[in-house]
C-alpha cells in the first residue's frame, strides 16, 4: 500500500536538526512545576523534615510521565531535593507536597481536590474546570505559549503562600471572593 510505505519512509527519515527554542510541552511544564515549588511557601512543619525532599506526585498511568520525570526528578530546591513520586491510587496522597493532574485527569481530580481541600498540597492541573473545582494553578496554552492561572482562594484556604512574583506572571488570579482579575 503506497500510503503506508510513504508513511514509513517519511517517519523513518533521519532527524532534522532540532531548534533550540522549541521543546516538548511537558518538559517545559515540568520546569514550571520546579519554579512553582520555589515560589510557594508551605506552612511551617508541613514539608517532610525527615528526608529533606519536596514531593511532586503524579499518577503512574500518565503517558507523559517520562518527560515530567526526566526534567526535574532529583533537582535541588534550596536545601531540599525535588522528587517525583508515582501514585498508583489516590490512597497514597500523604507524602505529597505537590500534585499534578494532566488534562486527561478530569474524572479523578474532582474527588481528590475535595479530599485535599485545606491540606497543604499545591495542586496543579490543566483541565478547563480545574480552578472552579478547587485546584490552585492551572496551565493553558495561548498562541503556542504556556500560561497559567492561579486560584488564590484555594491556596489561602490551604495556608500556602504564593509569592507575589508568581502572581504577577499569572494570566488570571482568582481571589477568594470569586471575582476574576484579568491582566
Amino acid at each position: 500500500m503506497v500510503f503506508l510505505c510513504l508513511f514509513a519512509l517519511v517517519s523513518g527519515a533521519p532527524g532534522i536538526a532540532r531548534a533550540q527554542t522549541a521543546a516538548d510541552e511537558y518538559r517545559i511544564k515540568s520546569a514550571f512545576l520546579y519554579h512553582f515549588a520555589q515560589l510557594v511557601e508551605w506552612p511551617p512543619g508541613t514539608l517532610n523534615s525527615g528526608n529533606a525532599s519536596l514531593n511532586l506526585c503524579i499518577f503512574d498511568d500518565e503517558p507523559r510521565l517520562a518527560d515530567l520525570r526526566s526534567t526535574i526528578d532529583g533537582k535541588p530546591i534550596g536545601l531540599r531535593v525535588f522528587h517525583v513520586v508515582l501514585l498508583s491510587s489516590s490512597q497514597e496522597l500523604q507524602s505529597c507536597n505537590m500534585l499534578f493532574f494532566s488534562r486527561d485527569e478530569a474524572r479523578r481530580q474532582g474527588a481528590i481536590l475535595k479530599r485535599l481541600r485545606g491540606q497543604p498540597v499545591l495542586t496543579v492541573g490543566e483541565s478547563a474546570d480545574f480552578l472552579p473545582n478547587g485546584g490552585m494553578i492551572r496551565f493553558h496554552i495561548e498562541e503556542n505559549k504556556i500560561r497559567f492561572d492561579i486560584n488564590l482562594g484555594a491556596a489561602d484556604a490551604s495556608h500556602l503562600k504564593i509569592s507575589s512574583q508568581l502572581l504577577l506572571l499569572a494570566s488570571v488570579v482568582i481571589r477568594s471572593n470569586g471575582t476574576g482579575l484579568e491582566r
Binding site: 500500500m1 500510503f3 503506508l4 510513504l6 508513511f7 514509513a8 517519511v10 517517519s11 523513518g12 527519515a13 533521519p14 532527524g15 532534522i16 536538526a17 532540532r18 531548534a19 533550540q20 527554542t21 522549541a22 521543546a23 516538548d24 510541552e25 518538559r27 517545559i28 515540568s30 520546569a31 514550571f32 520546579y34 519554579h35 498511568d61 503517558p63 507523559r64 517520562a66 518527560d67 526526566s70 526534567t71 526535574i72 533537582k75 488534562r103 486527561d104 478530569a106 474524572r107 474532582g110 483541565s127 478547563a128 472552579p132 496554552i141 495561548e142 498562541e143 503556542n144 505559549k145 504556556i146 500560561r147 508568581l166 506572571l169 494570566s171 476574576g180 482579575l181 484579568e182 491582566r183
Partner: protein
Amino acid sequence: MPIHPSMRSTFAEFSRRNNCRFWRITGIALLACLGLCPCSGQIPDLTQKSLEDLMNINVTSVSKKAQKTSETAAAVFVISTEDIRRSGALNIQDLLRMVPGLDVAQIDVGKWAISARGFNGQYSNKLLVLIDGRTVYNPEFAGVLWDSQNVPLDTIERIEVIRGPGAAVWGSNAVNGVINIITKSAGDTQGGSITAGAGNTSVGPEMIRYGGKARGLGAYRFYGEGFHKSALPTIAGLNGQDDWRLIHGGYRTDTALSAKDTLITEGEVYQGNAGEFANTIVSLQSALNATLALRDRYWGWNLLTRWNRTISPRSATSLQVTFDRTTRGDTTYDIALNTFNIDFQHHFALGARQDIVWGVGYRVGLDDICPTLRLSATPENRTTQLFNSFAQDEIAILPDSLHLTVGARFEHNDYTGFNIEPSARLVWTPNSKNMVWSAVSGADRTPARSDTDARINLDAEPASVLTGYLPVLVSFFGNPKVKNEQLKAFEAGYRNTWTNRFSVDSTIFYNRYRDLESVEQGVMRIELTPAPVHVLIPSSYGNNLYGETHGLEIFANLKLADNWTLSPGYAFIAMHLHTFTGSADVLTVHETQGGSPNHQAQLRSSASLPWKIKWNTSAYFVNSLPTQSVPSYTRLDTGLTWRAGEHLSISAEEQNLLKDRHLEYNGSVSSVQSGLMRRNFYGNISWSF
C-alpha cells in the same frame, strides 16, 4: 490579555491540527520500522531558565522556528467553546450566523442555505465543510446535507471558518470558504452528562454522554442524542409539514500509542426524517404536477481513523482514513452514497526559515441513484475517483515580520480531469499589535453527478392542439461536458489589537469568476420514455456565466468591562455577473445576484452576572433578497445560562424576539416551500456526573 482567538493562529497549525488528512494502521510491522526513527538530540536543561524565559518558548509539536507567532494570512473566524456555550444556539447552523461574511439563511426546519461570499442556495456548492477533517460536502449533490450534520454542541472544541478560497490546501470546492468543525478529544469530555430541554417549537435535543478511560485504549466517549422540531408555517400561513426528527449516536477514542503516536477513532450513526412541501411532477400519463407533502427519510453512518506521529519537534505526519455512507429518499427520489477517503500529510520545518506541509490523498465514491419519475441518472450507479496532492511552503523572509506562503494543490477527477489550484499569501507583522496580509489564489469548483449525469423531470403539461396532442415534459439534464467553475481571488486583510480590550479584524476581497454554470435551453424533440410519448423541452448546464464579486468583512471585539464584551460585525458584498451573448440564459444571473444579501450586520453582547449567570444577546440584520421577495429582517436572540452548582447547568433562550414570523430564504429555483422562522423559547438543563 488574551487576544481574540481568531486573530492568532497559524495556517500550518490549521493544516496540521485540523484533521484534514486521515490514517489507518494496518500492521504491527509498520510500527516496528517506525520505531527505528532516530529521535533525541541534545536536551537543554530547562530548569535553568527563568519563568519569563519559559513563558516565551513556543510549544507547537512542529516548531515554528525561532520566531514569535505566524499569523494566518486568511480571513479566519474561530467559534470557541465559550462562544458556543454563551450563544444559546441549539445547532451548528445557528452558530454559524455569528461569522461575518457567512450567509446563513434557514429555509425550513431542517434545511439551510449557507455559503460564504455570495452564491447562496440550498445546495451551495462553493463552500467546503469538514467535521474533524472528514469532508461532509456531498460530491453527488455538490452541497452539504445540513440535516445530517448534527454534532452535539458541547462536544465541539471549536469551529474554524475561513472565508475565501482554501483550495490550495483543502481542495476543490473550497472555493469561497472552508468550515472545519473540530470536536473535543475524548480526554476533554470525561464523566457523564445528561441534557434535556424543550421549547415551544421543539423537544430536545436530549442527550446522554459518557466518557472514561480504559487501560490500553486511552480515553473514550460515546453519546446518544435525539430531538424533534415542529413544523414551521409556510408563507401562506399553512402548516409546512416540515417537522424534523433525528436520533443519532457516536463515539470517539483518543489513544496515545506511544509518546510520539496518537490514534483517534470516531464514528456516528444517525437516522432522521423531515417533511417538506415540494412542487413536483406526479405523472406524465395524465400530465400532473402537484405540491405534495413529502417526507424525506434518511439514515447513515460514518467512521474516521487518524494516526498522528510526531517524528521530532520539527516534523510530524498524519494518516487518516474515513468512510461515509448515507441513504435517503422520499416517494420521489431514492439515493445511496458511499465515500471512502484516505489521506496522508507530512508537516516539517526545513532549515531556519521554512515550514512545509505536503500530502497525497485518494477518494472513491460509489453511488446509486434509483430512477424515479422525478430524478434519475445515467448511469444509475457510478464509481468516481479523486486523486489529489498538495504542497505548501511558508517562508520567513524576515523572521518575526514578513512571511510568504506559497502552495498548490493538484487534483484529478473523473469528470474534468486534471486541475491545479495555486495560492500565494504574504503576511507582514510590523509589531505584535498589527498584522497585514494579502493573498492571491485560484480555486475550482469541480462538477458533481448533479451537474453531469442526473436528469430531473420538472414539470408536465397536458396535451393540446399546439403540442400535437402530445403531453409536454420539461426536464433538466446534467451535462457530461460541463467544465469546472473557476475563481481567481485577491484578498487583503488587517488585524489590530489596539489594547487588550479592543481588537479589530477586517478583510476585503475581489473575486473573478469564469465558466460559472448557466442554464441553456436545448432543442425540443419527441421522446418515447418515460411513456407515454411526449414532447420534451430540455435544458442543461453550460458554462456561460462570468463576472466578479467584491466586498468587505469587518468585526471587532470590545471588552467594555471585565465582565462584558461586545462584538460588532459587518459584511458587504456586491456581485456583478454576466452572461455571454449567444447563451439563452436570462434568469441565472439575476437569481444568483439576488440570492445573497448585500449587507449584513451583527452585534453580540456577552455579560457575566453575579451568581454565575451569563447573559448573552445577539442581534443580526440581514438585507433583503429582492428576487426572492424576502424582505430585510432583524433578528434578536437572547438567553441566560446559570451554573447552578458543580453538576448542574440551566439555560433559557429566546430566539427571534422581535417578530413572530420572518422569512429568510425563498429560492425561486427551488421546489421546496420555505417556512417562516418563528419566535421561540427554549429551556434546558444539563447535569454532569
